[in-house]
């Protein structure tokens, strides 16, 4: 049974991007509104951690997926598990914070909520908002409802949205026009009922100027 975790640990330390560590920060403290997903490509566990016997338990999900250990084998010692998980979490959060602080995140994308719809956007994107929407032509907007921000290496998930001021998604209104003419035709069979209407919906085109992270995780 012990051979498995050793293998897992080596593969964790290895070069391949793997699925294992998804650490949630702020599980114990309420009010923090971001959780972090960090791929193991950039996460390096300390050798001490990998040789720790309780890693078996902390990696129980992956062991379970392999189907190589029965449930009796994996009876986690919860205190030790929590300790190890907290350590991994802190490590991940500090690495994310460091990359935000020295602006080495690279290109970011964000999921923003605009007028009832969600869009995945990045710098230079075009987004069309359908229906009546107040912003005027040429206005610069800052989209405040950001549900998620991601870079190549990590993802920040809002619960349900990220803190105000954490992510800055800026956009410009570049077009306010009408859609093509849509035909709305209603008919009831054998009831002599036919209605035909035509409508053109208002469309607003946005140019996404920038997606940035302005605060580190858990910074108030």
């Amino acid at each position: 049974m012990m051979s498995l975790p050793r293998r897992l640990a080596t593969s964790l330390l290895g070069h391949v991007r793997s699925h294992i560590t998804s650490a949630t920060c702020g599980t114990s403290s309420a009010g923090k509104s971001a959780s972090v997903l960090w791929s193991c490509r950039t996460l390096s566990l300390a050798p001490g951690v990998s040789s720790c016997p309780s890693l078996v338990a902390s990696l129980r999900t992956s062991a379970a997926q392999l189907g190589s250990a029965s449930y009796q084998d994996v009876q986690p010692d919860y205190e030790v598990v929590a300790e190890t998980e907290n350590k991994i979490t802190a490590d991940v959060v500090s690495q994310v914070n460091r990359s935000i602080a020295d602006r080495s995140t690279g290109r970011l994308f964000a999921v923003v909520h605009i007028n009832g719809k969600q869009f995945k956007v990045t710098d230079g994107d075009l987004v069309v908002v359908q229906g009546q929407w107040p912003p005027a032509l040429g206005q610069q907007l800052r989209l405040e409802k950001v549900l998620l921000v991601g870079s190549a290496d990590f993802t920040l998930l809002g619960r349900p949205v990220l803190d105000r001021g954490m992510a800055a998604v800026e956009a410009t209104v570049i077009e306010k026009s009408l859609s093509h003419t849509k035909t709305i035709f209603r008919k009831k069979k054998r009831k002599n009922y036919r209605r035909i209407n035509f409508c053109r919906m208002p469309l607003t085109t946005l140019r996404i100027n920038s997606v940035r992270l302005e605060k580190t995780v858990d910074q108030s």
């Binding site: 449930y71 990045t122 069309v128 570049i174 009408l178 469309l203 946005l206």
Partner: protein
């Protein structure tokens, strides 16, 4: 019923001259209002000229406004855009307010011919974390697996079910029972 939309050109979202990346540039360049000074179908256009055209021109310094009276012809507005497109807006029997609203629509549009949009979004960078494949996020140790493999073929691990718990309990009870019987039998 109209089938016009079925044969309509479709297009994707686009913006002319990278509009909005540095700053916003208005796409409507010039309007020519053609109207008659006498006919009643130009009434709304004449009212617009009397009451609003100066304000309109002041509010939109990027748009040149020409007025062209012509006798006993239906009123029109010619709209010219930065991308070279021109559009003729018939202003026949339009009220002052309606005309103003149509000019507002023209001011906001890019001059591209109206088409059905296939997507409401456009991006040059569709993926930042990499495109998902069936092998994304699969544990890498599967690479080292040799086949046939007992472990690889085993069903995914799960919690003990209630039935299994009951069975185990029952088996233990049976054992206990047997033991007690044996002990009583021997004594």
């Amino acid at each position: 019923m109209s089938f016009k939309h079925l044969f309509m050109k479709s297009s994707f979202v686009k913006a002319p001259i990278q509009n909005g990346i540095g700053r916003y540039v208005g796409q409507l360049q010039r309007i020519t209002v053609k109207f008659c000074k006498e006919h009643s179908d130009s009434k709304g256009v004449r009212d617009f000229i009397e009451n609003q055209v100066v304000d309109f021109a002041k509010q939109n310094p990027g748009i040149v406004v020409y007025l062209k009276p012509r006798r006993h012809r239906a009123p029109h507005v010619k709209l010219e855009y930065l991308n070279g497109e021109t559009e003729i807006l018939s202003a026949k029997c339009l009220s002052e307010r309606e005309l103003r609203q149509w000019l507002e629509v023209a001011r906001g549009s890019s001059g591209e011919p109206v088409a059905r949009l296939r997507k409401m979004q456009h991006t040059d960078r569709p993926s930042i974390q990499g495109v998902w494949t069936p092998w994304t996020n699969v544990p890498p140790q599967t690479n080292l697996e040799t086949f046939p493999s007992e472990e690889g073929y085993r069903a995914p691990q799960r919690e003990q079910t209630a039935t299994e718990k009951l069975r185990e309990l029952f088996a233990r009870q049976q054992e206990q029972k047997q033991l007690t019987e044996e002990t009583t039998g021997t004594s």
